[in-house]
Structure formats: structure tokens, C-alpha cells
Amino acid sequence: MPADTTGKNQTARQIFPPRHRAVVYQALLAAAVVLTAWYFISNAVENLLARRIASGFGFLNREAGFEIGETTLLAYNSSDSYLKALAIGLFNTFRVALPAIFFSSSIGCALGLARLASNWLLAKLASVYVEVIRNVPLVVQLFFWYAVITESLPAPAEALSPLPGVFLSNRGIAFPTLTAEFRIALDYPVLSGFNFSGGASLSPEFAALFLGLALYTAAFIGEIVRAGILSVERGQFEAARSLGLSDRQVMRFVILPQALRVIVPPVTSQYLNCTKNSSLAVAIGYPDLVAIANTTINQTGQAIEGIAIIMLVYLAISLAISSLMNWYNARIGLRGAKS
């Protein structure tokens, strides 16, 4: 009997070689994926039609009707379209995510080095920081920073002024800006009525989100930097030292270039996380893309379209960041090595 089965199998193999079978299985899988997607989409469309829920992207050109708290660079008012409101949201996402990525990288590097420092106090402080920040949910930290800023700073009328023309209050930080109307001059913020006018200001929402994101991401980057440095073999330290290089030179010319190869890929995902975490802005009222899209969804009732926009935009941002980082990773990689 067994012999017979093998015989059958062999004929099956001849008629239907494994390579062809693989193609068939893949085609079946692809068909299943497409069918499932089609089922979900047609089901949603049918339900929307049955309940007469409006659909399509036509709403993007309609008047938004709501104001946005922070609109630097682009002018916006409530008579502008939803599309423009979403663009402002996207811009606000970048406005907080990019500086947060930059600062978290610097703080993270410092933290990673500090944890490996021979100075006991410095190393312990750095590890306490990492453990505390990593283990408290980001949203809680955002509430914390927001409360610190709004509860502990005075009202605009009693604003602190650490530098001339700079005012700290529970409305944020107001500072002078350069203007060039007739001649280049400083435009100072002045208290008029409820708030400061003139100059520029950063809101408490922005400050809380920026601080929270930068400090939180820094803790993770610090650990990645530490791991990267530790991954360089001890022999490299010793060899560099015996060439007569100073500590600083060892780090700069021998260790870091090798450590970076280990560091860059996981740091890329931290950058992605940082950008995506900026969507927690909703909790403290910073008008980022998600906050604006949520409002849009609620005013228009078009949840599917709104969520699709959010997903596509984050996908695009993430792909852009990761291709940039991959390019950088390839550049610092071993020459001639397969990546």
C-alpha cells in the first residue's frame, strides 16, 4: 500500500510540479485577500446606502465652519474648506513631530552615553530617567505636562517675564519676532485685553505635547544608543586605546561609526512611533491632523472617509521617514557589504 501511495504522489508531482503548485496557492491567497476586501467594501457601501449615510469625498470642499487654535504659516478661518482645515492639521503634526524627533535624538544620545559613563551618579540618574519615563504611559505624561503648564503658570496679566519681551503664562510662551515692514525691527508681544498680541507664541498644548513626545522618545533612543555602543566588541576599544586615541576620539572615530549600524534601524522605528504618537494630541487639545479629522468626521458624519484620510496620511509620512532612514542606513553601512 505505501508503495502505491508514493507512486501516486510521483505521478501527481509530474503533472503538478511544486513550482506550479506554489503559483496556484499564491493566486488562491491573493484571490482570498481581494475577495475579503471586496466583501468588506461592498458591505460598507450597501449599509451606507441602506441607511442613507452620505459618502464620498465631496465634503472636503465644503466650508468647515470651525476655528482652529493654532495656524502658523497658513492663514485659516472658519469659512475655509475642510481640505484646508486638514492641511493645517497635517502641518501642525509636522510642527510638533519634527522638533520632537530632533530633540529626542539629542537627548537620547546623551542618555545612552550617560548610562555607560564611569561616573556612578550620572549613570544612575540616566537609568532612573529611562525607567521612569519608559514605564509611564505617554498619555499620562501629556496630561502631566499640560497640567503643570496650565495650573502652575500665572494668568496673562501676571505673566512671568524671564527675559525682556518674553512672557510665560498659562496661555503659553509669548516672544518677540522679527518684522520687516519698513525696516527690520522686533515685534514685541503686548498684553491687550485677554491675551498677548504681537510677536509670536507657543501654546501650552504645543509645549506639553512637544515635551512629552521628546522626553518619552528620548528614553527609548537612549536605550538603543546604549545597546548599539555595547554591541561594539571590547577589542575595538582596546585596539583604539592602544593606538593612543583619547576617550573622545575612541568614541567619535571608532565606536560610534560601528555602533550606528546597529542603532539606526531601531531608531527609525522610534521616529515613526514619535510621529504616530503625536496623534495623542487629541487628549490635550492640540489641533493635529487626527484632532481636525475627528472634528471633520463628527461634523460631516463621514467616518469611513475621515479614517481613510488619517490612515493614508500617516502611511505616507511613515514611508517617507523610513525611506529617508533606509537611505541613511545604507550610507553608513559597511562599504561593499550586502545590506
Binding site: 449615510i53 487629541v282 489641533p287 463628527n298
Partner: protein
């Protein structure tokens, strides 16, 4: 032979059975109604110290449960933020949305939802701290304004400032607790929402209610009402008449305390209402005592108002009965 008897029996039984729409059928099968309410707005819906939900919006949910099941406890609550509410109803997560939601034409037509009626007439106002010494909303130019997103409030606010050529900085926070703490911390000069919400926040959240004034301007009409999904007329009817039964109950003087006694009265209006005569229950495919159960277990509209909103210092105002100078008016239950 037996087969035909069984099928005949089934036919008779099913004809006799309450033949309800999908939402009511689903609720009967589950054994409870899933009701979407506010996450915490004193007087409208808020859990009390025992975790029991209280408020006029909650009472409406209870009335529907009393009508459908004869038991106001067959009810579960889903607390929803302003942004979650419509999606929760559209997707079927809740059977009924009773969450101080303003009836507007765009919501009624493009969301796939139907507003059932009005259980509270409100309008939007502004609250500021007393020490600002503001007397009118017209003086608010340049102010930072705390507001919740996805509300008609947010839109009216933009309209009002635009119409009056004033500027403002919105601080838009989704969670009620967070937006209120931002206002009370001084992050904003002004908090804006419906008048009832201002009164409720001032009396239940402010450290000292006397430090905050509500400005005289009312800048919008905000009729609140329960909402159901499109396409289930039977459920729409049940919710609508549950609301009207509460209003009618107040008008004909039936309260949770006296209805047992009054049910014995010979007054034909009351006889019909309590289901002793006529068949207003059958018309809704409900128990004939559905309206009796609502009043007995939940109370009439006035009782609900006095229990929930009067303690906050809210006046009946527009929400008086039509024959006492208000707008509350139920079509005849006959």
C-alpha cells in the same frame, strides 16, 4: 395533520406576538436596551455615588425600557463623547442615543439617523470668571475659548465671532473633564456650551460657583432630543411615544406617586393612558400598560426635570408645558 396544526398555531402565535422592528426585536432577544449617554453631565447623565446613572437623558432611556419590557432596569449604558456618539449609533453599538444632542437638519439627513423629538430646549451661552468683569459676549474679542469638538457649539462659536467681527483662540478638547479643568485652571477666558451645560458645570465642577458668571447672550437654538437609526420605524415610534407619554403624563397630572390611585379613576383620558381601556399599547406592539409603566417606574417629564435639573438651579423656562408658557407639547395619546 399535526403538522398543519403546528403551523397554524405558529401563525396564530406569531400574529398574536408583538411584531416589532429589528431594533426592538434585538433588544428583546438581548433582554436589555443599550443606551448611549453622556460621559458625565450633571442633570443629563452622570453616575451618582452608587454608580447609578441619573439625569433626564437617562430617564428617557429608562422610559423606553419600561415601555418595552415593563421594567426600567433592563437597560445598559454606553457613555459616549461628543465625537463618538453618532458612529456608535450608526454602527449599532447602541440602540438609542439619548445624550443632549442638538437636532439639526444636517444631522437628521446625512448621518443616517432620525431625531425622535425634543426632551430639552436649550441655547448656547458663555461663562467667564467674575474677576474679568465682562458684562456681555460682545466684549470677548481676543479671548481664549474652551470648547468641545464635534459639537454644534463649536460651529456656533465660530459663526458668532465671525458675525460680530471678533477674534478668538479656540482651545478644543474632547473630554468634558479635561476641557473643564482647562477652563478652571485659567487656560481659557471663556467656556462655551449649552446654557444647561454651563449651569451644570458651574454647580458641579467649579471650586466656587460664585466666581463664574454666565453671560446674558444666548447665541443659538439647541433643541436636544433622542436619536435612532434610519429605517426602523417601529423603534422610532416606541422611543417617540415613550417621550410623549412622559410629557402627556405631566399634562394630565399623573405622577409616579399617584398613578396607582389615578388608574382607578373614571376619567377616560386616564383610562386610555394607563391601558385600562382602548389599545394604545397594541398599536405600538407593546404591553397595553406601557405608558403606565413609564410613569410608575420613571415618572412624568416634570418629575424627571425636578429630580435632575432643578437641584442644579435650572429653571423650567422653555421646557414648561405648552399650557404653562413653555414648548413641551405631546400629540394626543388616543
Amino acid at each position: 395533520m399535526t403538522k398543519s396544526i403546528v403551523s397554524l398555531l405558529l401563525l396564530v402565535l406569531s400574529a398574536n406576538n408583538t411584531h416589532a422592528g429589528p431594533t426592538a426585536d434585538g433588544a428583546v432577544k438581548k433582554g436589555f436596551i443599550q443606551c448611549g449617554v453622556n460621559t458625565g453631565l450633571a442633570g443629563f447623565s452622570q453616575p451618582d455615588s452608587n454608580g447609578e446613572w441619573r439625569g433626564i437623558d437617562v430617564d428617557l432611556c429608562r422610559a423606553v425600557a419600561a415601555a418595552l419590557f415593563g421594567d426600567q432596569k433592563k437597560l445598559r449604558f454606553t457613555p459616549l463623547t461628543a465625537q463618538q456618539r453618532f458612529t456608535a449609533l450608526q454602527s449599532g453599538e447602541v440602540d438609542l442615543l439619548s445624550r443632549n444632542t442638538t437636532w439639526t437638519i444636517s444631522r437628521d439627513t446625512s448621518l443616517g439617523l432620525n431625531f425622535v423629538g425634543i426632551n430639552y430646549y436649550d441655547g448656547q451661552g458663555f461663562m467667564v470668571t467674575k474677576k474679568r468683569n465682562v458684562k456681555s459676549a460682545k466684549q470677548l474679542s481676543g479671548a481664549a475659548v474652551c470648547v468641545q469638538p464635534g459639537t454644534t457649539t463649536e460651529l456656533n462659536l465660530a459663526d458668532y465671532f465671525r458675525a460680530n467681527n471678533m477674534k478668538f483662540k479656540p482651545v478644543v478638547i474632547e473630554k468634558m473633564e479635561e476641557v473643564l479643568s482647562a477652563y478652571f485652571a485659567g487656560r481659557c477666558d471663556v467656556y462655551t456650551t449649552d446654557m444647561s451645560g454651563l449651569v451644570s458645570a458651574r454647580s458641579s465642577r467649579a471650586a466656587s460657583g460664585a466666581d463664574h458668571v454666565i453671560l446674558p447672550e444666548i447665541i443659538s437654538k439647541e433643541p436636544f432630543g433622542p436619536v435612532v437609526r434610519h429605517g426602523d420605524d417601529h423603534w422610532f415610534d416606541i422611543v417617540k411615544w415613550s417621550l410623549y407619554a412622559m410629557i402627556e403624563g405631566e399634562e394630565i397630572g399623573l405622577t409616579s406617586k399617584n398613578i396607582e390611585q389615578q388608574a382607578k379613576s373614571a376619567n377616560p383620558v386616564i383610562q386610555r393612558f394607563v391601558g385600562a381601556s382602548g389599545d394604545i399599547g397594541k398599536m405600538l406592539s407593546l404591553d397595553n400598560r406601557w405608558a403606565y409603566n413609564i410613569i410608575k417606574q420613571v415618572g412624568n417629564y416634570g418629575e424627571s426635570f425636578e429630580r435632575n435639573l432643578t437641584p442644579l438651579g435650572l429653571d423650567r423656562g422653555l421646557n414648561r408645558l405648552w399650557n404653562r408658557g413653555g414648548l413641551m407639547y405631546a400629540p394626543p395619546l388616543r
